[in-house]
């Protein structure tokens, strides 16, 4: 697993501070995309077989594997539902965000 980076806003005040090429530099960590979510995935770990498919498929790297078990990082999960669709055990369900 990649090392955790600190979430800080990166502001360029001049072109000199910028890389020469468009590349990710960690600024997305500051952008808490969890706020975009209107439905959220919830895992029923009792059915989970620890296959890691959800981790692999999450387009926003919002699922961590902690001690072999998947765990959703709701700071960044934007609620797309891909993990629920791909889980072979169907143990992830999408539930309404409470208003």
């Amino acid at each position: 697993m990649s090392k955790k980076k600190e979430a800080k806003k990166i502001v360029f005040n001049s072109e000199k501070e910028m890389p020469i090429v468009a590349m990710s530099i960690g600024s997305m960590l500051y952008n808490k995309t969890g706020a975009w979510r209107n439905i959220k995935p919830v895992i029923d770990l009792s059915k989970c077989i620890k296959c890691g498919i959800c981790w692999k498929f999450c387009p926003d790297a919002s699922i961590d594997i902690i001690d072999d078990w998947p765990q959703i990082n709701y700071d960044y999960c934007k609620g797309c539902g891909i993990c629920a669709e791909e889980c072979p055990q169907k143990c992830i369900v999408m539930v309404e965000e409470e208003k």
Partner: protein, 384 residues
């Protein structure tokens, strides 16, 4: 070691001596032998490189970009329709700051279907952010591949080595193939400032908001502007090590000239012969062959043309609805200069029609007999 080789093989040897690590290419006449020889070299171990077979030029460039981003020295070659198919990815190469070096054999664009030379294929890619070198001999092709890797990798901008179909690609000339250890001393291994690696993961080429896009373009242009000085520096260094200077332009008898041909490619060598003939008749002629076309060598062109009354720009290309492309560029370089020569624009040699000594004599006759061009474009050799 002196070898008699064709221009296409001069590209292959250039890539081999530069120790290209990844080659991805799709064959197209008249480029085929470049890739044939490189694939043989990869197969028999002469060149320790990964040769990636692809199903199109678009994929060839895509493979090159991935390899280059991973930190490999990368080479490819194409021509005409193949180059056009790569167009989208040429922007990815320069915008992604990936120093791929590519040979392009100048071949006229279809239709009518042609395999013969003119420059519209490479000049159509003028604004893609690639460095472009137009060569006139097989020796220059080989030497320039090596120099191009050095320039490209220093500034992280891709380079295109351009040579005429048949007149260079399939023409055998005596070429001094430098020793590998000397080339190694000239061209150190590629060590990019960023790369795609699991050790330090990054995504590249992602969404770039209006807040940042313009700065990236500004930086590309600023680095492009460094190319002429770097070509001079690396060209002189090359001369010190290999005895051949590789410059932005090749000026021939321009110092005291009263009339200068501005040329490119192989026609730029034939022009020298006519300069000699004109000089024998007492006409102080000169030839300015533009080798570096992008970035345009403004300073060189200005300093050489600011002393001459008359200039004839000879284009083997056309921007439809405008002029010959070198003609536009030379005129724009001279705009606002204290001394403005009379500049004539000639178009000739499209679709592989030969540019001969007589072509240049006709051009000289026209330009020398008139105080101004009577037409915006003077066509030479059109059957009217």
């Amino acid at each position: 070691m002196k070898k008699v080789i064709m221009g296409n093989h001069a590209l292959s040897y250039g890539a081999m001596l530069s120790r290209a690590q990844v080659i991805a290419a799709y064959p197209i006449t008249p480029q085929t032998q470049v890739v044939e020889l490189l694939s043989e070299m990869c197969a028999d171990g002469t060149l320790n490189a990964k040769f990636i077979k692809v199903e199109s030029e678009h994929s060839a460039m895509a493979a090159c970009l991935g390899a280059s981003l991973a930190g490999a020295r990368t080479f490819t070659a194409t021509s005409a329709q193949g180059l056009a198919l790569m167009h989208e990815l040429l922007h990815w190469a320069s915008g992604g700051r990936l120093p791929v070096v590519m040979g392009n054999i100048n071949r006229a664009m279809a239709p009518g279907w042609s395999i013969w030379t003119d420059q519209n294929d490479s000049l159509s890619q003028r604004d893609t952010g690639w460095i472009q070198f137009y060569c006139a001999s097989n020796q220059e092709v080989l030497d320039t591949v090596i120099q191009a890797f050095k320039v490209s990798e220093k500034l992280m901008i891709p380079s295109m080595i351009v040579l005429d179909a048949f007149a260079l690609s399939h023409t055998y000339e005596v070429v001094d193939v430098p020793d590998q250890d000397k080339v190694d001393a000239y061209l150190p291994p590629f060590n990019p400032p960023f790369r795609l690696t699991p050790d330090d993961p990054h995504a590249f080429g992602g969404l770039t908001s209006p807040e940042h896009y313009m700065e990236l373009r500004y930086k590309l242009q600023k680095d492009m502007e460094k190319v002429p000085a770097l070509v001079e520096e690396t060209g002189k260094e090359y001369e010190k090590m290999f005895g051949r200077y590789l410059g932005q332009v090749d000026e021939y008898l321009c110092d005291d000239a009263e009339f200068i041909f501005v040329t490119s490619g192989t026609a730029g060598y034939t022009a020298r012969v006519v300069v000699d003939e004109l000089r024998e008749k007492g006409i102080k002629a000169g030839n300015l062959r533009i080798k570096l076309f992008r970035p345009f060598p403004f300073e060189k062109v200005r300093s050489i043309l600011s002393k001459v009354p008359k200039v004839a720009v000879v284009d083997r290309n056309i921007s439809y609805g405008h002029h010959g492309i070198f003609y536009q560029e030379v005129k724009s370089a001279m705009y606002g200069q204290p001394h403005q020569p009379v500049i004539f624009g000639f178009i000739t040699g499209l679709g592989g029609r030969d540019i001969t000594r007589d072509t240049f004599k006709e051009i000289a006759d026209y330009a020398l007999s008139k105080s101004q061009a009577e037409e915006e474009i003077v066509w030479i050799g059109v059957k009217k």
